[in-house]
């Protein structure tokens, strides 16, 4: 009658709970290390691992920014959330000026989606850069960073993105709208 069913129940239930616990342990052990570093030592400390990166306004808003210029490669802008953000649909735009209201400037160029949890890299077009975090869903600006102003405040012109055409200025990336740099953590906006 139901002896086989009962026998199956006796091993299936504990097995599924064991799988759940094992999965939890595995997932805990494999969490992104960059994020763990950020939670322990702050976003700026996590960005220290980026050799040669110039950091901007590390305590600004909810993100830290850094500009990385790998030798022989195009500059990359890094965004690192200070803490997990409940904003799953943030997109990163680069514009030349900051609009006075919450609207998206006409010249805004999409760099890619911002991860609410992990450091994310974007290829940065040359020129004066205002970085915007914008939610299309809410039609609202979430945050903005004026890289030029930040560089001026720090008095570290060498750390600012070079103006277009300047000696040593990086060439424009072929695809300004490309999302993340190769190897960068992928967005996990749906978490």
């Amino acid at each position: 009658m139901i002896t086989p069913l009962r026998r199956r129940h006796r091993w299936l239930a504990p097995a599924c709970f064991a799988v759940a616990l094992g999965g939890l342990g595995l997932a805990l052990s494999q969490r992104p290390t960059e994020f763990v570093a950020a939670s322990r030592g702050g976003a700026a400390r996590a960005l220290e691992s980026l050799a040669g990166a110039a950091r901007f306004a590390p305590e600004h808003g909810r993100y830290s920014l850094a500009l990385e210029r790998p030798p022989g490669a195009e500059p990359r802008l890094w965004l690192l959330p200070h803490e997990p953000l409940d904003a799953p649909d943030l997109l990163v735009y680069r514009a030349t000026t900051l609009a006075p209201n919450s609207a998206l400037p006409d010249d805004a160029v999409l760099l890619g989606p911002a991860s609410p949890t992990e450091p994310t890299a974007f290829l940065l077009p040359p020129g004066p850069s205002v970085i915007l975090l914008y939610s299309l869903g809410h039609r609202a600006r979430y945050d903005a960073f004026d890289l030029g102003a930040a560089a001026a405040e720090r008095g570290a012109a060498t750390e600012a993105p070079s103006p277009p055409g300047a000696p040593g200025a990086p060439s424009p990336p072929e695809a300004p709208g490309a999302p993340s740099a190769p190897g960068a953590p992928s967005p996990q906006g749906a978490r």
Binding site: M1, I2, T3, L5, R6, R8, H9, R10, L12, A13, P14, A15, C16, F17, A18, V19, A20, L21, G23, L24, L26, A27, L28, Q30, R31, P32, F35, V36, S39, R62, E83, P84, L85, D86, A87, P88, P116, T117, G137, H138, P185, S186, Q188, G189, A190, R191
Partner: protein
Amino acid sequence: MGHAYQAVQWNRQKRRYDLALLGGVVLYLGAFVGVTSALQPEATAETLLIRGLGTAAFLLLHVVLAIGPLARLDRRWLPLLYNRRHLGVTMCALALLHGGFSLVQFHAFGDVNPLVSLLSSNTRFDSVADFPFQPLGAAALVILVLMAATSHDFWLANLTAPVWKALHMLVYVAYALIALHVALGVLQAETSPVLWGAVAAGALALGTLHLLAARKDAADDTRATPAAAPGPWIDACAVSEIREGRAKVIVAGGERVAIFRHGGRLSALSGVCQHQNGPLGEGRVVDGLVVCPWHGYQYRPQCGSSPAPFHERVPTFRLQVEAGRVLLDPRPVPLGTELAPVATEEAAP
């Protein structure tokens, strides 16, 4: 039990149970949204709703899965078991809302079919941290919906109890999928150990409860297994071991048989209710009928048939009493066969 199906056979107890359940869900969602919006003011309303519904469903699933072993370990939990299906359907509704809102929020505004997007937007199966956790939740949701849709007695009767039970045993698979969905999803962004600890404690508690209940069942079965005897009759127990109106459960041929004492006579029935395979041997004889403790299904002890107009039947077994011992033939007689109850006292020679 019923010969004509109704959506829900409401009674006072069910109404109170469902009102308490609904009130609890509303209170929980209100508290979750209030506390989370205070702690994380940047969280949007839809995010709060998705998370509130998801956590409510996950919590309810824990309650649903805990009731079974708790009722096996202590009969005082039986009243919760009586309407466990209502908990399950409520949990499924919450999970469905969570899944639906998530599908809209994260997949509905692109140029790809949301379901296609759900299954194809993340293909990083080689990464633990970036594993596509949403399809795991979707797979669990399919199981939960299937269970909720077949939870009615109509399906139980038409699928038969063993098939229905096997189908509903998939709830453990759903639980594992949901735990992985949570661990690979929201917990990847969680630095506080509180949530991790709570999810792990939940899985550990449920696993422990089920192991304890399984151990008790196995011990009960071992105790209830009579020594092997030559011939068809096995020595089940002493007559004095069976209380009036109750049963002594023994294991014969690997199956549970309940020997009931009613009006000074003995009858042997399967210890497994035809309805949800409940523990009929733990039931009582009320008004001359054996009543299952889980959902009140009734059987006539003489033939194992439910009283008209109902038509459930459980196997019955032949008994003898000799020298104060109850002897049982472990081969069931054909379903519905009338067997005269055996007197507890041997007839005088």
